[in-house]
Symmetry: C2
Subunit: 325 residues, 2 copies
């Protein structure tokens, strides 16, 4: 190898993605509406719809552990994570392909149970697993591809945020990371949000009719707001005390000695939605889960910052597989 | 885990795929023309076209080695392998997504070179890399998704073989396995067919206009003929001495002490095409590479067999990641 510049030194996963996008260049095909850089690729389809294509890889040890998840839970999580990317675009999933790498002598019973978990989620959201690939590798890896569709007027990109928009989140944050920390510490508690995360497909369909920008929370609120700002060429202020955190998350965080706001900002895997919307449109959104206004989109010059008891702080970045030690 | 039945004991990769297909069930969506069980999934698209979706995972150590491949060669091979699946359906690739798992401290320079290799192949076949996913894992894994299209009258499935069809192959076989064995043994020789395999996209487009069934050679001739027979509900006879093997493959096989026919039948990764065609239609196919008639489709009752110097033999099966020790 010619150079030993590590990905970490390059600046982590998102710097790597930018470097990759430079290699591939802009798509030559005019039917590519959005390429690298959003939750899913967006392709011309018919007069009323775009097609969405997304892929997300889950690696044992990094994204799940057979120590505390059943095979069904692993399958369900893998599928919810991927549906969440389609949800974040405002769309509906239609087809899934599963690419799986299985370690030596994995019990076939547990492989089948992983597929049962994935199929349960596919059935819940009314789509089919239509193909894939099985191979052998050092650890269990599940890579799911989802093709979906979105009505043109419902497409919700990371790049649509406007100055003055409210920054809102669905449900509550930090719950998955709090569960993971609890499991790692060997404590008891309600860790279901970590083991069985649910995406917000139904809510996203309603939000996408009114929001200017949307993303799902896979790497933590700080990272997701950062992505929206980068792609929309804007800044944002987020009020720390507004971030919705459940009683269960607060209690688990206390038990494991972690700052719950840190878990919400940098933990990830909550699969809630972060969206930006003009203030007057917020009342149009009627969904079953709570929506919390956590901040506002501001001019790019003002940057991205967290307001904590009236003091401005840098938000930090989200979970990055290449930055963790 | 409830049972310890290993995949090996279940009967290898294809038995596993059948077990998975039982879990997922038949697609509910009427727009799924072909689901699990061919080189790509086939979906309704417009009046004239089907959409094709395929995914193939390459694992370091199993499918490539950084010991003897440059990063560019790894990227090129990964992409050719996937285009080959679209070719085998008679279609053309249009979009690719790349999902990659990178081991700790991989030099960013080599990751970028892998993407350059993939992009070179995408440009050669005139399609775009439009998205994907990067994550961290124990070994280098490249999972490529290709979406393509095929004219309805050009769709060529594994399931279309008819009794009496000739069984034909493009180019020559065993070359990739011969190269791999040479590299493993540390001998010198022309191992380019292993390091830089090329798929037969252009040839497949012509063949698909006339053939009844088609598949690409990823696991060896024996396995591919077996897939066609299983899906078409027919048998086949293959004449061993007809199998096309190049002088280079013969010479490498001799050097490493392997039977070249064994490499052709069970080695895989040649990415040539196997197709079945009525005898009278064969003359319609005008392509630049040689076509060899290696056998004939027969009644299912007669089974699948190899004819070696007038004697019938079982063909054996192809390369299977779960059956190798």
């Amino acid at each position: 190898m010619l150079t030993m510049t590590s990905i970490r030194r390059l600046g982590g996963e998102f710097a790597l993605i930018n470097a990759i996008a430079k290699v591939t260049g802009k798509p030559k095909n005019k039917r590519v509406v959005v390429g690298i850089g959003d939750d899913a690729a967006v392709l011309a389809y018919d007069k009323k719809h775009y097609m969405l294509l997304t892929v997300d890889m889950l690696v044992e040890g990094d994204h799940f552990s057979q120590k505390w998840s059943t095979p069904e839970q692993i399958g369900m999580k893998a599928m919810e994570v991927n549906v969440s990317d389609i949800a974040a675009m405002g769309g509906l999933p239609e087809y899934a392909l599963i690419s799986i790498s299985l370690p030596e002598d994995v019990p076939v019973e547990s492989v089948i149970r992983v597929y049962k978990g994935m199929n349960t989620v596919a059935r819940k959201y009314n789509f089919d697993i239509i193909g894939g690939n099985t191979t052998h590798g050092k650890n269990l890896i599940i890579d799911i591809i989802i093709a979906g569709f979105v009505e043109k007027d419902r497409l919700c990109l990371r790049s649509g945020a406007k100055i003055g928009d409210l920054v809102c989140v669905t449900g509550d944050l930090g719950k998955s990371a709090a569960g993971l920390e609890t499991l790692k510490a060997g404590f008891k508690g309600n860790v279901k949000p970590h083991l069985e995360p649910k995406c917000r497909l139904k809510e996203a369909r309603m939000i996408s009719l009114h929001a200017n920008a949307m993303i799902d929370v896979s790497d933590g609120l700080a990272s997701e707001v950062g992505h929206i700002c980068e792609r929309s060429n804007v800044g944002a202020e987020v009020f720390k005390e507004k971030i919705p955190i459940s009683k269960n998350t607060l209690s688990l965080a206390k038990k494991v000695g972690k700052d719950p706001y840190d878990l919400a900002l940098h933990g990830g895997e909550d699969f809630e939605l972060v969206f930006t919307i003009p203030e007057e449109k917020l009342e149009n959104i009627k969904i079953a889960c709570p929506i919390t206004i956590v901040g506002r989109i501001v001019d790019k010059k003002r940057g991205i910052y967290l307001v904590d008891k009236g003091r401005r702080m840098p938000p930090g970045s989200g979970y990055d597989h290449f930055k963790q030690e």
